[in-house]
């Protein structure tokens, strides 16, 4: 078989099936790396990998398949960046007082500024940040998130639940900081 015709077909299929999800890939990379230039590196590497391994794509959901590769690329990238550094642990005891004081203040959450929400999301530990993004930004189902993160459904459920609870605390903390500044 003519191999150049063969490869020409490969890139056309790739452009039709995978490339439309570039935005999703870029956004996951952007929110995981937390900055634009690293996001471009990770997204680019992931796309190249996806292309190289496109033969192993079995016709499942292309977005789920691509996001899995982005996530794997991100994890290897993180390790290369900071070989020994552990991600900051989120200390729930530290934040629990804020949480209990907060519950009824729905208005507060609704009024959070773009800046506050972004900042709070960037401060979520990675394993919670990724599920929150897949859910809120990509609107993936729990089943799809389980596929991307290769974890059981129960883990996805509890990560979403804990992730949102942390997010709520973080936003409340930001708001409170602002209030203190305004009144002080």
């Amino acid at each position: 078989m003519d191999s150049s015709a063969d490869s020409g077909e490969k890139i056309h299929r790739f452009e039709a099936l995978v490339l439309p999800h570039l935005d999703s890939a870029y956004n996951l990379a952007r929110w995981m790396t937390r900055n634009t230039s690293d996001a471009e590196d990770v997204a680019q590497e992931a796309m190249m990998r996806a292309f190289r391994f496109f033969d192993t794509f079995r016709g499942e959901d292309a977005r789920v398949w691509l996001l899995t590769i982005v996530r794997n690329t991100y994890l290897t990238w993180v390790r290369r960046q900071m070989p020994q550094q552990n991600s900051a642990e989120f200390d729930e005891r530290l934040h629990s007082d804020i949480e209990s004081a907060l519950t009824p203040e729905s208005e507060l959450l609704r009024q959070a500024t773009t800046e506050q929400v972004r900042h709070a999301i960037e401060n979520l530990p990675a394993e919670f940040r990724e599920v929150i993004l897949m859910r809120e930004l990509e609107q993936l189902s729990y089943k799809e998130i389980a596929a991307v993160t290769r974890s059981p459904l129960g883990t996805v459920m509890s990560r979403i639940s804990r992730g949102r609870s942390m997010l709520r605390q973080l936003i409340a903390r930001e708001k409170r900081k602002m209030e203190v500044r305004q009144h002080g």
Binding site: S7, L22, M47, F53, R80, S106, T113, E127, R164, R168
Partner: protein, 249 residues
């Protein structure tokens, strides 16, 4: 505080992930329980806040066009790896193989399926190990520390060799459970790429290293002296195969 709805269920309800029966049960509960109703309201507000923040960002046009150019460049035909295609040296062997092929087809299909399952398991484990907290149970570049560490924890004694002279630095080891049995994971690093080498006892004859790709990672597996080995990394295939041949010496 008794009888509050489970947190996970509240979120699953919010995400339309509950089946009809359970979501009706939860709605009954919400009608009676002010605390849980407040929780739901609070999380709805959180979601509105998040959606209003408009988190989606567009990759730049320049990034997009660079990427396309790179993809097209990659698309040029590349030399294929030779590792996993071993052609029988004698033609009679090929004929014999062909004759066997028909009867072996079914067995092959089954073994290929279980092979893919194993590869998936190995990839999952490798990825898990890259998450900051679980790469190594014992972290040292000293092979004389790693090997005894495994003794007593496993019912076999894995070979642990420092190959830093060849550019594969021993980083440590950990215990794993793979394919239904205990396994040793020996961790190497090369230019900050992490390589997991999984090994456990196996039956059957020695097998030459076979390279494959699975879910974006390269894997090389082989059998030697009653042990199964599988090295996995995001490292390129050539270098991973090089590690395999160093280990087989």
């Amino acid at each position: 505080m008794a009888n509050h709805a489970q947190r996970n269920l509240l979120h699953a309800y919010l995400d339309d992930e509950l089946d009809l029966v359970r979501s009706m049960e939860l709605e009954d509960h919400l009608a009676e329980c002010g605390d849980c109703a407040n929780e739901i309201a609070s999380y709805r507000a959180l979601r509105e806040g998040v959606q209003a923040a408009d988190l989606r960002q567009q990759p730049s046009a320049e990034f997009r066009s660079n990427l396309l150019r790179e993809l097209r460049r990659q698309d040029q035909p590349q030399p294929t790896a030779v590792v996993h295609r071993r052609i029988p040296r004698w033609s009679w062997a090929a004929v014999a193989a062909l004759l066997l092929l028909a009867s072996a087809a079914l067995v092959l299909d089954i073994s290929q399926r279980s092979e893919r399952r194993l590869a998936t398991e190995i990839v999952a484990d490798h990825v898990r190990s890259l998450m900051a907290t679980h790469l190594m149970d014992v972290a040292t570049s000293d092979q004389h520390t790693v090997k005894p560490w495994f003794t007593g924890k496993l019912d076999f004694s894995p070979q642990v060799r420092d190959l830093s002279a060849d550019g594969f630095e021993l980083a440590g080891g950990r215990l794993e459970y793979l394919d239904g049995h205990s396994a040793a994971a020996i961790v190497y690093q090369r230019r900050k790429h992490v390589i997991n080498l999984f090994t456990w006892p196996t039956s059957g004859a020695d097998e030459e290293p076979r390279a494959m790709a699975h879910q974006g990672f390269n894997l090389v597996e082989w059998k030697q002296a009653g042990m199964y080995y599988c090295a996995i990394s995001d490292l390129n295939r050539q270098e991973l195969t090089e590690l395999a041949s160093l280990l087989r010496k």
